[in-house]
Symmetry: D2
Subunit: 275 residues, 4 copies
């Protein structure tokens, strides 16, 4: 059973929490705690050997913690997600395959696409595909349609798996800390459009990918994880795009695994990740 807690820090937090667990005869097999001293904020992830009724334990933990505490006992073991895509398949198929073989750690409820390119592959995996075609002149209705679909499914997270439209701040604000994006550069380098083309022009010797939560500032949200691969003079911007797909797939998969395992805490514009 996993327990995750964050709240303002104070002497005695670990003692209070572990005291409750000890009284309940729960054995802690792995504990990670971190205090952000600058922000005076406390983060903890506990893995206990036994199971216990979540509601009762949550109440006992809340009783020894401040009012601002976020306490999750045995968070939903299988998250629900909606995936959004455009035309590129690689991040989506990685998710669909893991979902199909029950190794994703989440339930894919539907895939929303602003093109129909990826409808067929979703159907092969028996996952509902919802096309929401994009009329550039009418972003309001476009986002409203997406919002309606999401509203039907009530997912824990919305995963932008190479969704190439920028969502408006108003849309993003409705899902704070719940939209995960994969960006095809090692942010903050090459934020915005065409990162591989700019990487090629600059002559960099490595390209990267960044998984992050989406906020109302483009490519500025809290970073979950990043990786890079080496490139060299033989790469064109086209072959960088191709090589980059491998790292985009891998980084998004890793970020989702961390989030679904309840290892990622968001506070202000940063994450704490207990890997």
């Amino acid at each position: 059973m996993i327990i995750v807690i964050q709240c303002t820090d104070q002497v005695g937090r670990v003692a209070a929490i572990s005291g409750v667990l000890s009284q309940e005869k729960l054995n802690i097999v792995s504990l990670r705690e971190h205090v952000d001293i600058e922000q005076n904020h406390f983060y903890m992830r506990v893995h206990v050997e036994q199971d216990a009724p979540a509601a009762a334990l949550t109440e006992k933990l809340r009783a020894v913690l401040p009012a601002d505490a976020i306490v999750q006992v045995n968070p939903r073991p299988e998250k629900k997600i909606v995936v959004m895509v455009t035309k590129e398949y690689h991040c989506l198929t990685d998710i669909l395959v893991r979902h199909h073989f029950k190794t994703l750690g989440a339930q894919v409820q539907c895939v929303i696409g602003n093109h129909t390119t990826l409808q067929n592959i979703c159907e092969r995996f028996d996952v509902p595909f919802c096309p929401v075609l994009h009329d550039p002149a009418d972003k309001i209705n476009f986002e409203a349609a997406i919002h309606d679909i999401i509203g039907q499914y009530k997912p824990d997270y919305i995963v932008l798996a190479k969704f190439m439209r920028i969502l408006s701040p108003g849309f993003v604000a409705q899902f704070p800390g719940r939209i995960i994006n994969i960006h095809h550069s090692f942010l903050p380098a090459f934020a915005g459009a065409n990162p591989y083309k700019r990487a090629f022009e600059r002559g960099v010797k490595m390209i990267g990918a960044t998984a992050h939560f989406v906020t109302d500032e483009l490519d500025e949200g809290p970073i979950i994880t990043q990786q890079i691969i080496p490139v060299n003079h033989t790469y064109t911007s086209t072959s960088m795009v191709k090589a980059g797909r491998e790292i985009e797939t891998s980084v998004l998969a890793r970020a989702l695994q961390l989030v679904f395992d309840d290892r990622v805490f968001v506070y202000k514009n940063k994450t704490v990740v207990f890997e």
Copy 2:
């Protein structure tokens, strides 16, 4: 202040320890705990914000822990080490430079060499060099001489920085968990002599290095850290040796940093490393 503890596991260990710290008004800013369920063994490393008298706190912690507990409050912030070398300079100079600029986290008391090749570089850094020349016919006196030198300095750790003689089980037994070696392969591949030559002959595409504690079985002691670098068909065994030096230096430096920061626990033939 750092506190490290290991003992047999039981429900309530974290509560007992953090309870003592809370009573002493000590704020935990970082805590790592791990239980090896198979061995029923408990490991914890705590970083607290404030300092406290070590002896008194140790006593209070021991009072709530079983008799087998190893408790270190504020372990010696600067370890004392003796370094042993043969002819290769790269690991030694990395240690000497960091020591000189006070970034090693340890005090180099002396360097023991079974050749005099590296005497000059030690002198340039004002570090005592003790030659103990090796008579292959007389290993007993060789090791006795080394033992005498170490006995004068009483180091916390003995670092084999490319020391190319095999120490006898009898010698090793006198410093359990205190001799650190750098081996020039990713163990368990290529244990023993001439790893690069054998790597070349096998046609591997990566070579590695392993820092480990020395036990009486050659290259079989608990591993602290390992790294690899890619190689290819253009490498000869000679150029693998040259490339390998970079990774050997880097792996040993990393291992020493982890050990000197009290992040490494040894139990039976494995380590727990709270990076």
Copy 3:
């Protein structure tokens, strides 16, 4: 257009080959040449800007090269492969997805399984699945049945994508340099069975995967590529298996890409890989 050549070495090889290409007005945009001095063996991969009739150019190149030369002008741009599997899906689905979206660089002709576990996923991708169930008492008929299926398809390569049966030397001998396997360790460490269990017991700090050509000595064939990922004390052998899947998938994908791009030369028990 790609040209690959290997033969015994002699002064003037590059001049002879590039002389032919120059006469044909073919511009070399990328050239990699390597001589294994120990073996006196010459390897070259040339990328030329223009296309040319392959048969005529091959003849002209052969005319300036020794009789033992292997010359391939414009090797089949899309290789044909047969994939062999047991129960684990991850390497297979990576191949099926790339094949489906035409980014594999090869045509998957059929999948042979010694269990039917993966039949369904092959059907979802419209790829023929041929079950050849294994009777441990009758390896001869088992391999004969596999041989028959392969005989129908005449693939360029046979890819063992987590096929967990050992093929007999007699079987392997029929496809020299054409069977590619993914082994779940950084060979030569943990050759043979249960590498993750043994890695766990040894307490290594990294696990790896190796793609290699299969020869009649188990896990001893020429290595194409290898990668590793870090692990630590929190991993059980089960979680090493899970983490290892990521690297197995990635290493096999990389090896196939290199082979399908005609970047891999095999000579005796080693490879030359022009990455």
Copy 4:
């Protein structure tokens, strides 16, 4: 013997060059050729087994190449360098140690420092230290003094090993393609001052270092090599600085090795690196 050539591209370049080498009975053991099609520019690095008189061979090669060709036969096997530093030791000591043990591949002629902090360590290695203290109000005389010192030594390269002053475009223009800098970020991220502080504030999960040639645009010159290391929420900007030193040292060492081995070509704002 190494031969490096760059010039405009045309059909027949490789044939012309290898024809000359073949006539001279020189055996090519390794050849790397690359054409930048966009720029119509040709790059080649050849390793031949035998030695030959450089001047005569250069003349014969020039005779078959266009007027813009840069031909170097057997480039100076040991480059001469001047190193410039401020207060941080780590890149300098790495250079001094390799120089001392004759594994740098270059001759350190002197070290110029705008502080005297590193004078002592240079003296320990018997390397001349030239202090050129910096008067912020008088950059012209500061750079003139540096220029005078460099003028005495006529180095092949000037290595900025954590030299924390920005050199004026006028100064840089006098040493085109000959000043190598280590920047403490993965450029183009965090160009300019205080990269670690900004990396901390952004919450990145990796930090890097970049070795590049210096041009008149700050941190915009041709990149030679880059590497990154992972960081996480436990890092402060101070511990990022500390961790970053390891990667800065390693990246600069790698870049120097590549340059001193004649593997790096500069053309416009990019490099071709034959690793």
